[in-house]
Symmetry: D2
Subunit: 343 residues, 4 copies
């Protein structure tokens, strides 16, 4: 068979492990011809495709990012984008594609399937906000990086009797904030799923202070919303003295409120992109590899429109339509557990 | 209620996280009186018990080991050991114990339950060889440490065109060897569950060599057995060319066989205790904390003889008798996936 | 003798290692009575002092922060602050203080010496901007953390064909930016010591782009200044929709200029406090311990007004007045080396 | 000019950083033609040489090992080895070689210089046992890895009330053992430079035990010698209670003696090759890069027979003959500092 592999959306530790697994399984088990599509859907719009051999994937397992490149460009917004993808799918004589992506990327694949594109999916979301699988690779790495940062910030908070507010990724899901906050021993965690009141947060921190703990660490997901606000605080329309627009993330807003309401010296750290880069954890390498091998098998079993998924301890399959139906929110059982350690 | 906590068997990253979770939940939610039993069952045999407060558990989340101490001493082998435990259980007026341990420790708890001891279990096995739960804490940390070591050894193997044999933990289960080997890109993995032939291994490594890869990394579980042997290799009566006695571990035996059969320069590294020490990964901290909070709830729900367990994404409960029935072996699906990358 | 130890200024990995070394040397070698002054000079202004024993320092070697607490409050600005310090110095019958701090903290010690305070210094600056010693502890840890972040960001930059701008610490010195940039393979490094032109930077990045490298990492010290500006860009007087002031660091300004001038998608990451927290590197633990042991010896040799210092491979002594005379700038030989890898 | 680069002896983190620096400086500053010699001197004996471009060195900075390969084969022991090297040196029309190696590799270069070979050296020794430079790259990485292992082992020692003996690299020098032992808080450090008595060691550990510290970590260099022995212990003719032969390394011997003399449960961990593999620390990347750039400059300045070296904060030059004269031993000032923390 002729198989193409494509990685779409934001990069995520484990993408290379998944690519390597698909290629190796396809070549060694099935003697497939494998092609890499460059930069997400863009490579199929612009005919940017290259052959992948065992040599291409040598040594990529521990590497972050994706050797295929990625992009967030949406072919639906490019006039004849969808048609050009189908034309190229046929021109390159693909029997099937393995699509590694989140809800956007898989959603497009799903739309193209109606036009005849055959594909198998591999779920990819650093935020763990995709339904249909217990966990996605990249998430464990992001949580590990954020936890290590929180560990470090704890010693500064304690030495200087400060509150440190750590803003982590998670525009729609509080999964990273909750897991990293729990693992890092956070004293308060703010997530998009649960509106929070500045009042409550401040009073819990003050209570902690009264019990002799004169420092705190607050973890806040990028998409957390204060009570009464109906959208995340992410951009504020202001410009600086040069006329450039200014960013004002939720972390900064929370820090200011804490300082104002508690009188405690407060600092904010926005972790940003470091959460999605670099070498994947062992957990993510194993998960990505298992999903990749299984996806190659699914192609040969004709399981089109399905994605490889983790259920319990096993790799199984789930319909892509189910995965992209809606965003998965943070596991309430875990968030309730995290609350045991608040204040 | 008056609750005791006890950690038994080999130490394991996440024990302190679990202790902290039980104590915090018990005190804040239930206003319990919590006591720590020192050094496993020994503390109940010898009346070595101390109160645990919120202050006792402050800052222990990221720490390896167990603040309660542990021991492998078996009270069954101590004349009146079992009776003294029951006497102390009654003397201290415990309503229940939370027992954090593997099959040995939980097995004793199970025996004591017949005499009236009330307990709730938390599974602890660094080898992930306990039934009844999808995963135990400590395992992810051990796999991470072993994977990091394999990553490091890869660069030496490649620079010197060597085979490096890495012996990892796992007397009865190949779970660590398989996961770390998979994550580290091992070219061969030897586990206790599958007898291996030196012949096969050597020919696979030679084949790899012929394809231009003049180095290899072999991961071997401490309990792996060559074909024809019916027990693990732990000591071997051989002398070297100078008449000096030769080391006994399976890693060294495998290394010698590789060198003899392939003619490639070979080195062995035995990771040993570093796999079980130090700060737990974020994953293990989250898992241990969730199990600990749930165990405290189970005590109050009277779920004696059960242990907190991970199933899929949720913490649930499993009967301890089921967990200790037999040793869990490596997940065959994962080992089959690892084999895709052999040679 | 009665010795006090005080840590002042921003926290820094290695402070606890230094405290432990002073205490252990003083007690075991000299049978001194050692007291810890809490929260920098504040503890001497407010009589907040506690005894330090071998037990107090047990297990603190690998920990970040300072068990004594720190503060940036300047006693010179507190009416009778200086007098209260001298009163307490006499009240507690100190024979000498060991002052662990940067130019501010040591500068105050120097002023107090004129009033009769006896002290020995240990240099502390995470930015490595103190004269009189080859290196200070904390710097190596900060550089390591920043380098690890740059490593991670590289994979994202490469996968998405982006420019990533990393803002690191260094208000007056480019030492962290230069070392971390060099170690992380940065394509451009902006330091306070050398004014830079946006024009030059953009053209170098474009040249790199033309050679097929469609991604770049730029490291910028917090105090870097664009050509024509006479002060660092650190605060811009704007407020958000709630009337809160907004921060606009140099990293953000650089990112916007890169994007505008090159047309390449650009992201900024501000590492902030994570660079100064957490467990010190082995290098910093060794350096801090050596300085601490030597400082205790200096107290007994009556070397007041001097600080322990690293020269080449040896710990020696340097007059504090020399160390605080002016700020040490980045080693020009290292910055020139870093430039070899620009573009 | 036509320049060759060669890496000899055991691999060492930072080799790739040094290669990259030489190549980049030589090409960009001097427009040199650069060739890589494969597998140490072997490549010049066997004509195994390949061109190095800017492309060859892209992305190698953070990687362990050496892209050129290495070997320990000594051309002096190969009949006409030395002549073949000179023939190839002339055949490839090299103007000079940059030799990255320890005393063996540099010693051969020095011998070949008498026959007309022109070379500039870069010191490489993971053990930091080379004279003429304050420090060599690789050492800091080895110490970091060993320290991290000791940190991990501490938690196990403490939880199980054990003595853990950690054997680290250092056949002739105790530099790694001393630095890692100091950084890891070891309770005893055994080095080749100072004969030790089992009696003393045991009584110090017992004294510690009496003060309530019922666990210890002992660090021992591979080449440490007990008092009365005139050579390192590497193989020992003993059998255990079952008649099985016993392992030979000094770590195991020390562990047995500790257990016998103190009655404390003891374990040994031999770190082995993991100390020399994997990504270099930021410190080593900076040092290796600085030495590499300087070595390229030295070639053009005709500084043959010299090596780039670190003195204080500057890169300077030292005659190779001085560096290989004798082995550098552990800095006595550091070892004395480490002793402050014994027991």
């Amino acid at each position: 068979m002729r198989i193409g592999i494509l990685t779409g959306g934001g990069d995520c530790p484990g993408l290379n492990a998944a690519i390597r697994a698909v290629v190796r399984r396809a070549i060694l088990e099935y003697d497939d011809h494998v092609l890499g599509v460059k930069n997400g859907w863009e490579g199929l719009v612009d005919s940017d495709v290259e052959p992948l051999s065992l040599y291409s994937i040598s040594g990529i397992l521990p590497k972050g990012g994706t050797i295929l490149g990625s992009s967030r460009r949406n072919p639906l917004k490019l006039g004849d984008g969808m048609q050009r993808i189908m034309d190229n799918f046929n021109k390159y004589e693909f029997d099937a594609l393995v699509i590694i992506g989140g809800d956007d990327t898989l959603g497009i694949a799903n739309k193209l399937a109606e036009k005849g594109l055959k594909y198998v999916g591999i779920p990819k979301t650093i935020d763990n906000d995709l339904l249909g699988t217990d966990m996605s690779f990249g998430f464990d790495t992001a949580v590990s990086i954020a936890t290590e940062a929180i560990d470090r910030l704890h010693t500064t908070a304690e030495s200087h009797h400060r509150v440190i507010v750590v803003e982590v990724m998670g525009r729609y899901s509080g999964a990273i904030a909750t897991a990293a906050g729990l693992a890092g021993g956070a004293d308060f965690i703010l997530v998009p799923e649960t509106p929070f009141s500045f009042e409550d947060m401040a009073s819990q921190l003050m209570a902690r202070h009264k019990h002799g703990k004169n420092f705190s660490v607050v973890v806040v997901a990028a998409g957390a919303k204060p009570e009464g606000f109906d959208k995340p605080i992410s951009k504020i329309d202001k410009t600086d003295e040069f006329g450039h627009p200014l960013v004002g993330g939720v972390g900064e807003v929370v820090a200011r409120e804490v300082e104002t309401r508690t009188g405690m010296e407060t600092r904010v750290v926005v972790l940003g992109s470091i959460q999605r880069g670099g070498s994947p954890t062992a957990f993510d390498r194993v998960l990505a590899t298992r999903l990749g091998v299984h996806a190659a098998d699914m192609v040969h079993a004709g399981r089109f429109g399905y994605m490889a998924a983790l259920h319990g301890t096993e790799i199984t399959e789930a319909p892509v339509v189910e995965a992209i139906r809606t965003t998965r929110t943070v596991n309430p059982q875990i968030y309730e557990t995290a609350k045991v350690f608040f204040g």
